[in-house]
């Protein structure tokens, strides 16, 4: 039972990490990163480290995505060129 929970959490972490680098919209990639932080904190509890799970919840699931979103919002006002890797920076909603 323990190893099934462990492997399911590992699979969730890997899937959301792949989603975080495959999604072209930057805000969506930040959301996938936040999902990775949440499932990683669950995995930390399964591995017997509740204190690390505390800090991972606060840092990896909330604080880090908010930092990324603030940085993307500040960058979008200044980036003017429209190369195809930047076209999805401010594609809102």
């Amino acid at each position: 039972m323990f190893w099934a929970i462990d492997y399911l959490c590992l699979a969730g972490v890997i899937v959301s990490a792949i989603a975080a680098i495959r999604i072209r919209n930057l805000n969506g990639a930040v959301m996938a990163l936040s999902a990775m932080g949440t499932i990683l904190s669950l995995l930390f509890i399964v591995l017997g480290a509740p204190d690390d799970a505390h800090s991972e919840v606060v840092v990896g699931a909330i604080a880090l995505p908010t930092l990324y979103l603030i940085a993307i919002g500040k960058v979008r006002a200044h980036v003017t060129d429209d190369s195809d890797d930047l076209g999805e920076v401010g594609e809102g909603r």
Binding site: A20, L33, M36, A71, V79
Partner: protein
């Protein structure tokens, strides 16, 4: 059975390294760095875990054991967990500094493309 955790940590590190090496957007590169940090946490806690162990807290021991029995070797390694805690805090600081540098780059060069930042061209 813990080998699965090691393999997942290695896979996560490789995903982060792929993002750092192939993406051109600077924010995507910092995301790859975050993924590599996450693989580091996963590897440290997998090293700390022993078979059939629980958290290194001696209050309310499970299954009717006493605290002495629990301290004999049924707990995970607390030293590596402390190192992991330090790594998490340092990781968020590094990410914050990287994003601040990226905001300054975008204000100066008007781009996020790492090929167009001319000052670092060798």
């Amino acid at each position: 059975m813990i080998v699965g955790n090691y393999l997942a940590g290695v896979a996560l590190f490789c995903i982060g390294l792929y993002a750092v090496l192939t993406k051109r957007n600077l924010i995507k590169i910092v995301m790859g760095l975050s993924l590599m940090e996450a693989s580091t946490y996963l590897l440290l806690l997998s090293f700390a875990y022993r078979a059939h162990s629980t958290a290194p807290v001696l209050l309310n021991p499970p299954n009717g054991q006493s605290a002495e029995q629990l301290a004999k070797g049924q707990v995970a390694d607390p030293v590596l967990q402390n190192i992991c805690l330090t790594a998490i805090v340092i990781g968020v600081a590094v990410t914050g500094v990287s994003l601040a540098v990226i905001v300054r780059i975008a204000q100066h060069y008007r781009t996020l493309d790492s090929d167009r930042v001319r000052a670092m061209r060798g």
